[in-house]
Amino acid sequence: MAIIAHPDFKRHMARRQWQGRAFHALCLMAVGVALAMLVLLLGYLIQQGVSRVSWDFINGFPSRNPDEAGIKAALLGSIYVVLIAAVVAFTLGVGAAVYLEEYASRNWRTRLVQINIANLAGVPSIVYGILGLEIFVRSLGLGRSVLAGGLTMGLLVLPIIIIAAQEAVRAVPRSVREGAYALGATRWQAIWHLVLPQALPGILTGVILAVSRALGETAPLIVMGALTFVPFAPDGPFSRFTVLPIQIFNWISRPQAGFHQAAAAGIIVLLILLLAMNAGAILLRNKFQRRPEA
């Protein structure tokens, strides 16, 4: 190329090119390390546990004999807890978000509430366990039930859903609300017919995050007294229960190698459940995101 170099510039092209390539390599390495860890973990789990994953394993109850131990009770417990938590947190969370965005006046009290919600999202989960133990298990007399567990988890993930829902509601353009008000819509009509439908995909993203978190949490449920050995499926909201992470932890802490295999198999089931629930929420989100045909 016929470029005449101006004497005032020292372009250092070679060095700059090299820096660019080095940065590229660094980023690639970061991705590589993260991926390698994941592959290693999954590889180990599958090698350890995949032979144990079977219908009998999923449909069986825990046993003293590692080869007969199953996870039916924990699996159903996890599903119940997460469903109760999601329903509770979705209802309360969307309500709180709509109030804060659409009704509350912008003053220091609202800001205080706002800051506290953000803080609650960072409170250690075990604190929610203590709260759940005091409120749901003892004060409300729900006992160490799957309902109490679900409500505790619901509280735990509530801030995540409130914050996601608030952002989704805020992202709905002002012009849409004004258009509705100008036609004589009440605030409720504008929110119900226009704001919430448009905010729903964003809200569901929050629900996905919340469900993933609730599925993996163990500490609060241990504090509020979930069992570790449950030879029965939960048969109602007041049934005692266990969840997958507790069952897995219990198996891992046993000395027998057979239980370690069962634990690995349990983790595989937990991951599949997590993927399935997320996939469900994503499908739901895409369904609502689809605009009317152009």
């Binding site: 006046s105 912008r106 353009p173 012009s175 849409v176 609300r177 004004e178 258009g179 509705a180 008000y181 100008a182 036609l183 004589g184 819509a185 009440t186 009509q189 017919h193 226009l194 448009q198 605009r291 009317p292 045909e293 152009a294």
Partner: protein, 257 residues
Amino acid sequence: MQLSEHILQTRGLSVYYGTKQAINDVTLNVARNRITAIIGPSGCGKSTLLRCFNRMNDLVPRSRITGQVLFEGQDLYAPDVDPTEIRYQIGMVFQRPNPFPKSIFENVAFGPKINGFRGNLNELVEKSLVRAALWEEVKDRVNASALALSGGQQQRLCIARALAVEPRVILMDEPCSSLDPIATLAIEDLMRELSQEYSIVIVTHNMQQAARVSDYTTFLMNVENRGGQLVEFGDTRQIFTNPKDERTEAYITGRFG
């Protein structure tokens, strides 16, 4: 009831946003079944004045008014008046087309539905689209997304949406500012057409547009930063050919603004 020739009136109207005054003591009459244009330089409170007629300013935190706004002789800001009740009698078209992310049909049907319309919805939607001069272009795809329409079509859809609740007044806040010249002409033709049945108030920064479409013109100006004052009101022809106030003349001849 004997209807006065003025469908909307303001009496000594001032509007404040917090401590900032946006409108200063404006007294104005809007004639029935005519087009009244509000012109003036940026920041003179044109839109604020327009938004007093359907109480859209109520939605702005810390806004308050003094003076009166009368609709058919009744005080719109009286304590027993519900703003949602007057907003379907006084429709509004905004600066940027703001169709809802729904189908064309649902956009037009939204107003009637929320206001408890019990008649034939299909008929009403068709009639509204016809009156907004959009029916011929969309009659084969009323279930298509409103967002797929062009800007000018979207704005006519917003007009159809406002017409569907059978308002008596249509407020237009710079309805052509985001449209190309051809779409602008279509909207202006439509306004002339609609003024047979409706009273129209249009805010515009485009003086040619005010001169082309309106019957009456109001010139507002922000005097000494104390909010927009009414400088001159009169017949559009008179305002543009023989303004009485020298500030009006300076503005319409393009010496400021």
